[in-house]
Structures are given as structure tokens and as C-alpha cells.
């Protein structure tokens, strides 16, 4: 099944927007109906292509927010000076057509059948999207792999999937760090993810943990380097960089 999802032609398809669900003030989840969709693996992404009336085109990649077996959906966070994201978060409606290509990716994927070890998920901003797919897949498959999520967000209001993450089942620990503002009475972490915070949250290396780090480029590079310095094997720190501001 996974093999057929990877091989063969990857072509642009006209998907129907089934629903647009607001997640935060700046983020929406777009549920898609893609004809012939082969199903996604946890951590994969898809490409979106927009065409204006004069033929002008813009293409972007977005991580899939849903788990294998669930309807394919992406979560998009609006970049104020973005060219594509404001269209997807503010204009797109159910019933619209969206040209997509996917699923894409064979590196930044988690497969409980093949991947072993405790899971460390490190998210910077919208980097949470593919990690949420991994967490949902973990729950849906009844995986017993212990999981920890370290999620860095500018503020609590900008945390995506908050209700879901706060209610996560046994075996998952979620740690937030809020970098720009904290609500009154906040007793959690504040400030950027650094070596000290990772040392506190990350699984000890003797359990052979597997880490997935996703978010803006500088966030990913710092966190991945810190994990390697903590002793994580470089081959067991998977990275996905979203660019300076986490998306376009």
C-alpha cells in the first residue's frame, strides 16, 4: 500500500474544497476531496497551485494535517505579506476547486510498523502541522510508542489544535513554550527553544529516540543541532524547514 503511494505518476489534480475550518485567528484547516487520492502517510505534504485569470501561477507546499485513513486536509497559517496564504485562509470556500499534487514525501514520515523508539516531536509555529498528523496516526493505530511534543508558539492564542493537544491520550506529553506573550498566570515555559529546554524535554538517548523537527529554517537548524549535541544520532533527527517565517 505504501509502495503504491510512492511510485507512479504524481500529477496535478482538481480537488474540491470540502470544508474550511478556522483553527486560530490566522490558521485554517482545508479539507479536500481529491479524486483517486491514494491516502497519505503521516508527515507527508502536498503541493497547491493557484492560477489567476491572466494565467499567472503560484505554487506552494503545505503539510497534511490529517492521519492516514482520514480525509486529506492541510492547515495553512496566514502570512500577512504572503501571496498565497492569505488567499487560502481568507478567500477560499467550500465548493471551490483547488489544484493539488500529492501525497509527497518519503523522508519526513513516521510509520509505526517500521519506525521504533520513543518519539520526540519539536514544532516551531506552523511546524506543528505534520507532527499533528503523526500524533493522530499514533493514536489511531494504538501505537504504544511514548511521545513527547515540544511546541514553540508566539502566544497561546496562536497554538493550533490546542484542544486536541491538551486532551491527548496516555503516553503523550505536550510541552508548550510561548515566545512573545504569555497569558496571566502562565506557569509554563516562555522564550525560545534552546539546548536547556531540549535537555529537559527530550527523551534520553539510551532509548534510541526518533525525533521530528519542523518549523522555520532557523528554528529547525538550532533545535536539530542541539539534539545532536545531546547525543541524538543525526540519522534519527528528521528535519523539515518551512522558511523564514514558517510558510508563504
Amino acid at each position: 500500500m505504501a509502495g503504491t503511494a510512492l511510485r507512479g505518476r504524481l500529477t496535478w489534480q482538481n480537488a474540491k474544497v470540502a470544508a474550511v475550518i478556522r483553527q486560530t485567528a490566522r490558521a485554517v484547516t482545508i479539507v479536500l476531496d481529491v479524486p483517486g487520492w491514494p491516502g497519505q502517510r503521516a508527515g507527508q505534504h502536498l503541493d497547491v497551485r493557484l492560477t489567476a485569470e491572466d494565467g499567472y501561477r503560484a505554487e506552494r507546499s503545505y503539510s497534511i494535517a490529517s492521519a492516514p485513513g482520514e480525509p486529506v486536509a492541510i492547515t495553512v497559517e496566514r502570512l500577512d505579506d504572503g501571496e498565497v496564504s492569505p488567499y487560502l485562509t481568507d478567500e477560499l470556500r467550500a465548493g471551490d476547486t483547488l489544484e493539488v499534487r500529492g501525497p509527497i514525501g518519503g523522508y519526513f514520515v513516521w510509520d509505526p510498523g517500521k519506525d521504533r523508539g520513543p518519539l520526540l516531536l519539536v514544532a516551531g509555529g506552523s511546524g506543528i502541522v505534520p507532527l499533528r498528523s503523526i500524533l493522530r496516526h499514533r493514536e489511531r493505530t494504538g501505537s504504544t510508542a511514548p511521545a513527547r511534543l515540544l511546541y514553540s508558539s508566539r502566544s497561546l492564542a496562536e497554538v493550533i489544535y490546542r484542544d486536541e493537544l491538551d486532551n491527548d491520550g496516555a503516553g503523550v506529553t505536550v510541552v508548550y513554550t510561548l515566545t512573545r506573550s504569555q497569558p496571566p498566570g502562565w506557569t509554563g515555559h516562555a522564550g525560545r527553544v534552546d539546548a536547556a529546554l531540549l535537555a529537559e524535554v527530550a527523551w534520553p538517548v539510551d532509548g534510541e529516540p526518533l525525533a521530528f523537527v519542523c518549523g522555520p529554517t532557523s528554528f529547525v537548524e538550532t533545535a536539530a543541532q542541539d539534539l545532536v549535541e545531546l547525543g541524538y544520532q543525526p540519522g534519527r533527527v528528521k528535519t523539515e524547514r518551512f522558511g523564514a517565517t514558517g510558510g508563504r
Binding site: 493557484l50 489567476a52 501571496e83 488567499y87 478567500e91 471551490d96 489544484e99
Partner: protein
């Protein structure tokens, strides 16, 4: 044919036909997109030199202060990127390439511009002389930002903007045309936007 995405406009742009002074296949933008093939170099002006080389030796070289002591001018130009955006009326502070090349006696017919970070681009000598090219160190009255090629870049507005090499550090004088970075990978050797010479073979 892709379906039109309802309500999608993209960045503000004016179709070439309406603009009138824009080459075929281009749209006008108000932005100034940053395109890079590698990390942005950050060369302090104290370390900067511009050299004209030939046959492996330096014929003439200027450091930053020497270059800034040369007569400079404000250049207003329309610029055209091969990725289809054009920006009209851009304003630069620059030294004419004639001022630099006039100080070297030679009979080379081509140049290869070389830059910090390893970028190169080739041009006929005729296209960097005769008032058609500059060494630009300022944009819109400010020092040229590193992301746009500072401390100094080549400015050759009559050709596609990949010829206006960012972070330029000099020119190699050549007898024969030699493809630079993008030309090696399939872009046109000359790059005239008015004849839409984007790719090799156009």
C-alpha cells in the same frame, strides 16, 4: 489547462500590454523580489575590491574608497527578471563601467563577471560599455542591501537581470564568450528581454 482559482489575484501586477514599456511575457511588480542561488555573502567594504583581470593576472583593482572616489551618477532604469517580473523606474547610485574599463588597455571582446559566493555571468564587452552598464553601490538613496547584492553589484538593465550580478568583485577579460552560472545550466547566453531570450536556444 489549469482551472482558474476563483478570487486569486496574486501580487499586484500590471499586464505588459497595458504598461507599454515592458518586454513580452513580463508583468510589472511594485515589490523587489530577492532571488538567490546560494547564501547571501556579507563582505565588509573594508575587505572589498573590484578587479579587472586578464589571463590570470590583475590588470587593475580598486578598493572601496578608491571606487567611491570615482565619479558616480544616479541611474534610473526599468529592470526585467527572467522569472517574469519587471520593476519600472528603479533608482541606483552607481559608477559607470566605462569609468572602470577605460583605465585598462585591452582588446578583449567578452567579460565574465565574478562574485562573492561564486556566482558568475558572461557578457559581450559591448554590453558593459558605451553607457550601458554600471557598478551600483546604492539603491533608492541608501547603501545597497546585501540581499540585493551589496556592497556592490553589476547593473546592466538592457539585459535580463540575472546578468546584473550581485556581490560582484570584478570582471575577467576574455577573447571568447564563456557561459557563467545560469548560462551553464540552460539560460540564454545573451539574455535580451525584448527578444525574450530566456533559455538557451531561444
Amino acid at each position: 489547462m489549469s482551472p482558474v482559482s476563483r478570487g486569486f489575484h496574486g501580487r499586484r501586477r500590471v499586464p505588459a500590454q497595458q504598461a507599454g514599456r515592458v518586454p513580452p511575457g513580463q508583468y510589472v511588480t511594485e515589490d523587489f523580489p530577492v532571488l538567490s542561488a546560494g547564501p547571501t555573502p556579507h563582505t565588509p567594504t573594508g575587505n572589498w575590491t573590484f578587479s579587472i583581470r586578464q589571463g590570470g593576472s590583475v590588470r587593475r583593482s580598486w578598493d572601496w574608497l578608491q571606487m567611491r572616489a570615482l565619479p558616480a551618477e544616479t541611474v534610473t532604469a526599468d529592470i526585467h527578471c527572467v522569472t517574469r517580473w519587471s520593476k519600472l523606474g528603479t533608482e541606483w547610485q552607481a559608477v559607470s563601467m566605462d569609468t572602470l574599463l577605460d583605465q585598462v588597455e585591452h582588446d578583449a571582446r567578452y567579460v565574465l563577471a565574478f562574485c562573492d559566493g561564486g556566482y558568475t555571468t558572461n557578457l559581450p564587452l559591448a554590453d558593459v560599455t558605451g553607457g550601458r552598464a554600471w557598478l551600483a553601490f546604492g539603491f533608492d538613496g541608501q547603501p545597497l542591501p546585501a540581499e540585493h547584492g551589496g556592497p556592490a553589484r553589476l547593473l546592466v538593465p538592457h539585459l535580463y537581470f540575472w546578468k546584473s550580478a550581485k556581490w560582484v568583485r570584478g570582471l575577467d577579460l576574455l577573447d571568447a564568450d564563456q557561459p557563467g552560472f545560469w548560462e551553464t545550466y540552460g539560460y540564454h547566453r545573451y539574455g535580451d528581454p525584448w527578444r525574450e531570450q530566456r533559455y538557451a536556444g531561444d
